[in-house]
């Protein structure tokens, strides 16, 4: 159980910086998700911790010790790869015992620890199978058992559930979280699946272009995204841009086009300054209304697409002047008994001042 620190990590491939001065700390026992589009540097960071990538500058420390010069095989890390990388010529037992065997653990202890690892991932009984004879979910569990049996300091997961179908993925998410809690190991995982990151992580970091855009608990990052990228990457967001029209006792009035104003917390804004606001689709209330006059924290529009998904419905609402392009706003509503609105219905969208978040461009 260990702390991992990254200090000023830089890695360049030609002119492209895969890691551009990244610093962060992973706490003991924490489940940390690295999230970002492909090429954003999250995988490079994971591979730098594993030792497959040598940093151009900066350091990786485990429990305060710089491991930059330590070869992969001496780092004592556990890693689960996207396609599991189970050894095809070895049985399940041999795969799991591999890490113990190369360390010279006595055979009797190997047997006992392999059995423990198998029961941890609930796959007792498959000892003699070859990886090819296992399902995707089973292979994933074996890979996890193999990575944990050596009692590593850190567990690294590279898109661990990427190869599974949706149903199995949800099941494995719960399983992964359970095992991680039981073992209590510091776990760092890379994913491009935002839902997976939100479900599994104690904390997440969003990467873009080799830098950390934002790090924090999933709830925090979701509720208070710092910029347009973070708001749009983690979950869905509607962006409203305008100008600060007035300041009043800690509140700022932001004027959007077409006369609509939005009230938000002032947060040091100045009159005349441009402001970008993000509003989550589930924070908008939608009601049928023929009132097309602009108002405060209110937009008027017409329902366009209606996407029914059982327990909820998503609306795409065309706001603003029908002649001009206007703006399409996404609204998400739980199906809690209110009638579902038909396409073409005139509606107004309203929200509370807390619901709009000021974000950087």
């Amino acid at each position: 159980m260990s702390q991992v620190e990254i200090i000023g990590a830089v890695k360049k491939y030609g002119d492209v910086a895969a890691l551009d001065n990244v610093s962060m700390a992973f706490s003991d026992g924490e489940f940390f998700g690295l999230l970002g589009p492909s090429g954003s540097g999250k995988t490079t960071l994971l591979r730098a911790i594993a030792g497959f990538v040598m940093l151009d500058d900066g350091a990786v420390r485990i429990d305060g010790k710089d491991i930059g010069a330590t070869p992969v095989y001496q780092r004592n890390i556990g890693m689960v790869f996207q396609n599991y990388a189970l050894f095809p010529h070895m049985s399940v037992t041999e795969n799991i015992a591999f890490g113990l065997d190369v360390r010279g653990v006595p055979a009797a202890e190997q047997r006992q620890r392999v059995a423990e690892a198998l029961s941890m991932v609930r796959l007792t009984g498959l000892e003699q199978r070859k990886p090819k004879q296992l399902s995707g979910g089973q292979q994933q569990r074996i890979a996890l058992a193999r990575a944990l049996v050596t009692r590593p300091k850190v567990l690294l997961l590279d898109e661990p559930l990427g190869a599974l179908d949706k149903h199995l993925r949800q099941e494995m998410q719960i399983e992964l979280k359970r095992i991680q809690r039981n073992v209590g190991i510091t776990t760092i995982f890379v994913t491009h699946d935002q839902e997976e990151a939100l479900t599994l992580s104690d904390r997440i970091a969003i990467f873009n272009a080799g830098r950390i855009v934002q790090a924090g608990s999933p709830g925090e990052v979701y509720a208070r995204p710092v910029n347009r990228f973070a708001a749009g990457f983690l979950g869905e967001a509607n962006f409203l841009s305008g100008q600060v029209a007035a300041l009043n006792a800690g509140w700022a009035q932001v004027a959007l086009g077409a006369g609509t104003t939005v009230t938000i917390e002032a947060q040091g804004l100045q009159v005349g300054q441009a402001a970008l606001l993000a509003v989550r689709p589930e924070r908008l209330a939608i009601h049928p209304s023929n009132d097309t006059s602009p108002g405060d924290n209110r937009l008027a529009g017409t329902v366009g697409e209606v996407i029914f998904s059982g327990n909820s419905t998503s609306y795409r609402v065309q706001c603003g002047d029908p002649g001009s392009k206007g703006q399409v706003i996404s609204v998400f509503r739980q199906n809690d008994g209110q009638p579902i609105l038909a396409s073409g219905t005139a509606v107004s969208l309203t929200w509370e001042p807390d619901d709009a978040v000021l974000v950087a461009e």
Binding site: A50, G51, F52, P71, V72, Y73, Q74, R75, N76, I77, G78, M79, F81, Q82, N83, A85, L86, F87, P88, H89, F98, G99, V102, R103, K132, R146, A147, T150, L156
Partner: protein, 266 residues
Amino acid sequence: MSTREKGMGIGGLVLRLHLGLVLLFLYVPIIVMAVLSFNQSQLYELPFTFDLVWYKSLASNDRLIDAGINSLVIALINTVVATAFGTMAALAFARYQFRGKSLLQLLLFPPITIPWLVIGTAMLVFFFWTGIGRGLHAILLGHVALSLPYVIIVVGARLANFPRMMEEAAATLGATPWQTFRRVTAPILAPGVVAAALFAFAVSFDQFVISYFLAPPGVTTLPVAIYAAIRKGFTPEINAISTIIIVVSMGIMLITARFYRFGGER
């Protein structure tokens, strides 16, 4: 069932005929030769009388036996050398980026397509010119040069499907590079290496033209000796030694095929 019945139509008949002819022309000569090696008559007269006379006379034919030993020794050394160097080269091609890599890879193919007669002539001239000369050492050199591309291509094909992640996984589990190679890389590559070794053996053991050109008077390999013997007058001893070769080489093929499924699996 209906597809099976359809298969017996004109198309099916042609396919079966085709298969039958292929098997006929491939195997009937071999079987006839093998049977006749056990026939007493030198002139292939029937009725067939079982006798080991030709195997006995082969046993006292020092020329053929020496040639056979030469062939076997050269083929075995060639197999070891070409497989070792070829595997290393294939690993280098698959794993490292270096200057001239594409050019080198491209240069692997022409020796396979250039007629052996041309290569044999070129080698003879070159070996004469450099002072390497003729002899078993020259034959071995020529065979290794010829087999290398086959080994590199066969092992390379196996490596192309080899996920690098296996080795990375082994490293994260605490295996040193040597442990990783011995316990992960080598076993996964083994079927490709064995197939490549068979190719190398076959290229050398079957080799006639280059051996013929590079053999000095008095030194021969088996194919060269068989050719010389046939020119002088055919005896069923040739049938006998050919039968032995066939039995041994088919045996090796079948055993290896039993242990390693060649083909694209895994």
